[in-house]
Symmetry: C2
Subunit: 305 residues, 2 copies
């Protein structure tokens, strides 16, 4: 079973939005500032370069230069879980090695996602080869299960095979499938793994079933509110369910918009910088009416970032 | 309407398999040899770095070094249509520029394929930005519609918008949707575009409706047989349908196997080099029984590469 540091990789992790300049180039300064703000607000860690980060709209070189910029800007490497999973194994290996070189203690790994309907043997071979090529005992992989986007699931049977072959490297799972029954199955079956649902909607339920916390997009705008659920649960407080309901109410509103542009729109208001709302194609920003509706709905539940 | 050279981009184009060494590194020498063989057999052109080429299992650097190796090995650049579409626009721009620099007259472009359910506006913005960033009047794009794999279609309405904005750059479509009705719609609606169905199954029908030819995986092993359909149709010969039936019979057998490993297995036998059968994960090679069944079925219809 995995020997992950017990103080790391639990609680509320945020797949950090990637800010772009008006010309769509990456803005490492704004990214570092947002990372610092999230940690100040109580985020336990930062899953940079995830789906919410538009990481697959970045080149490998852009991801590498951003990670360097973050570490240089004083974002603690051991609070980072960079996304590294690409279609090409060589790219995944390169990003994983860099993350280790910079002192990151874990990486978030998508399966190769271009070919669909591939066999479990093929996915197993892919992860095995990546682990062998990275060639480090320090590698800790969080498997990234997000079938609604990747269209390539990481079934529990594959997790079991990987865990048997690489008990030290397979550290956990981000389950963004949105199916609580599947998360439950993972929690029951893989007792020693850090299981993070991909939404705070399931945070308290997951914690009560042995989950590690959550890795959630809306943590970009509501890190404190989501962290409170974790704290109240940790403290055994009576109002843990109340904090969950409040966090879920915010999530409910966010899910009425397209998530990534909505979160960036809220950051643009928070940082008083309209450029923050920029997304890279194929994503598109919220229209003016959609932005107004988002703001109004959040006002109605008394939420502000 | 597009000003594609009338002598280029018609007939039988082959999305060339990418051979790997036993250590899974790319084998540029074997790739060049296969390209030369395909042209000798009558292939009109080579759509290197497509889906069949496992191009998305290659890094950007690997694709660039392979294109360089092909041109250095004497494969004519104007017979190449390199695949350039990546999730990240910057990568697509980089590959497109290299293709132009090496004298390729057209590129095959997937839409960005990580995010699913994206808007037509977002896809339009993505293609527009790529065209602007490449910034060359010589760019000729063949839009790559392959929803079974990419899960991101290029609908006819998007083609129309792109054609209106960039009549010189939008040169054609590879339609690998497998839906003849959709191909027909494209043929009727976009009279001046080069429309290539993604299977020789539709070759004669496409030609009779104004299609340019086909771009087909099985061209890797049956280039002569497929080229014969095109020739007989060009000549107005009576036996065009017979040649189509013979080509389709081979296709029928190939489709009973997993296509890419099956084609590589046939190349391994043809070139008497078992390493040719190597695929990169997440693909897996054919099992011994599956290979034997493939050979037997092809024997039964009297086909050999």
């Amino acid at each position: 079973m995995s020997t992950v540091n017990q103080n790391l990789f639990k609680g509320v992790w945020v797949p950090v939005l990637t800010p772009f300049a008006a010309d769509l180039s990456v803005d490492g300064t704004a990214l570092a500032a947002h990372c610092h703000w999230l940690l100040e607000q109580g985020a336990d860690g930062l899953a940079v370069f995830g789906t919410t980060s538009e990481a697959n709209s970045l080149s490998v070189e852009e991801r590498m230069s951003l990670l360097e910029a973050l570490v240089e800007a004083g974002v603690p490497a051991d609070r980072l879980m960079p996304g590294v999973g690409c279609c090409a194994m060589g790219d995944t290996v390169r990003l994983s090695r860099q993350a280790l070189d910079y002192g990151c203690r874990g990486v978030l790994m998508l399966p190769p996602f271009y070919y669909k309907g591939v066999s479990e043997d093929g996915l197993f071979a892919s992860f095995c080869r990546i682990i062998e090529q990275v060639g480090s005992d320090d590698l800790r992989i969080f498997l990234y299960h997000i079938p609604p986007v990747s269209q390539v699931p990481i079934p529990a049977s594959l997790v079991a095979r990987l865990l048997q072959s690489y008990p030290n490297q397979i550290a956990g799972i981000k389950d963004s499938g949105g199916d609580w029954n599947h998360t439950c199955e993972l929690l029951e079956r893989f007792d020693g793994l850090r299981i993070f649902p991909g939404s705070e909607r399931f945070l308290l339920d997951a914690l009560r079933h042995g989950g590690a916390g959550c890795i959630t997009a809306s943590g970009n705008v509501n890190p404190g509110g989501i962290r409170r659920v974790y704290e109240r649960w940790s403290d055994g407080a009576d109002d843990a369910d109340d904090t969950q309901h409040r966090a879920t109410a915010v999530r409910d509103v966010l899910e009425q918009s397209r998530m990534i542009p909505a979160l960036k729109t809220l950051c643009a208001r928070h940082y008083d910088d309209p450029v923050w709302a920029t997304v890279r194609p194929p994503l598109t920003p919220l229209s003016d009416p959609d932005r107004a509706a988002l703001f109004e709905r959040l006002d109605q539940i008394g939420f502000s970032m």
